[in-house]
Amino acid sequence: MSRIAATAAAGLTDLSGRLGRAAILALVGVLLVFITGFAHPELVHNATHDARHAFAFPCH
């Protein structure tokens, strides 16, 4: 394999690795924000009520 092709292949592997890690991190992050800011169960809503209003998440 030429050096350019090897560099390109390494670049692709690096990109796919970054993509995978970023996807996992973002997914867990979105899940946390969703539970605290958006989930409907009354218990969750009442516990997070003031934070939801303060962060301007739609509430009620």
Partner: protein, 232 residues
């Protein structure tokens, strides 16, 4: 991955401390004040007790509530806990962006990323759905949540296209993505209905809420970026 997790946890925790203190000082007092108006309005026979506007969906009325934290310290503690959840959640999204970009990030770069987070998750959604006090009149909850998420997604994507797009067409597409949710328009209640709290209180709350969000995102970006650089 270790670097991303440490940056997110430290950044989220410090931002939680900052936002909890700021909120308790300038935002929570306004929420509590609004609730006194909400309760006063609920005592009158019309509209129904604690109903958040005629357009609000059923099941979101305050008068049939189950458990909620006791007033005072317990309520503040749960708010702090919720801030931690939101803080670490947004921090994870931020470090996911650092990871994806593949760029070097330090405290100053992190501050710029935090500014993008503020535009995406605070300012843009607030343009359509201004921060609401308890007792505000609002459209049904689900369409509002859907619009909020859609506007955040469109703004984040649009900013990324403007900043990282190599071709001018991509940058223009980014501008279009940011504008689109506002052209479609957020769900609003019928004009002319008023919430329980006086408009002056609601206006102060809207500004304070955005200002504390700006503090939150600045701290989150700065700290997560600074930790990101040190851990490597």
């Amino acid at each position: 991955m270790r670097r991303a997790l440490i940056s997110a946890l430290v950044g989220g925790f410090v931002a939680c401390l900052a936002i909890t203190a700021t909120q308790q000082a300038v935002v929570v007092p306004l929420i509590l004040k609004a609730e006194t108006f909400e309760e006063a309005k609920g005592d009158t026979p019309k509209p129904a007790a604690h109903d958040h506007g005629a357009a609000a969906g059923p099941g979101h009325r305050h008068d049939e509530e189950g458990w909620k934290p006791a007033e005072g310290l317990e309520r503040a503690a749960f708010t702090a806990l919720a801030n931690l959840g939101v803080g670490i959640g947004f921090a994870l999204i931020l470090v996911a962006a650092y990871t994806l970009s593949g760029r070097e990030v330090d405290g100053r770069q992190g501050l710029l990323w935090g500014a993008a987070g503020f535009l995406t998750f605070a300012l843009a959604p607030s343009l359509g759905l201004p921060p609401e006090l308890p007792g505000s009149v609002a459209a049904a909850l689900l369409p509002r949540q859907a619009w909020w998420l859609a506007s955040a997604l469109a703004t984040g994507t649009g900013l990324a296209l403007i900043v990282f797009g190599r071709h001018v067409a991509l940058k223009l597409l980014g501008v279009a993505a940011i504008v689109l949710p506002h052209v479609v328009g957020a769900p609003h209640p019928p004009m002319g209905e008023a919430g329980a709290a006086p408009p002056e209180l609601a206006a102060r709350f809207a500004v304070m809420s955005l200002a504390t969000a700006a503090v939150f995102w600045a701290v989150l970006g700065w700290v997560s970026g600074a930790v990101w650089r040190r851990v490597s």
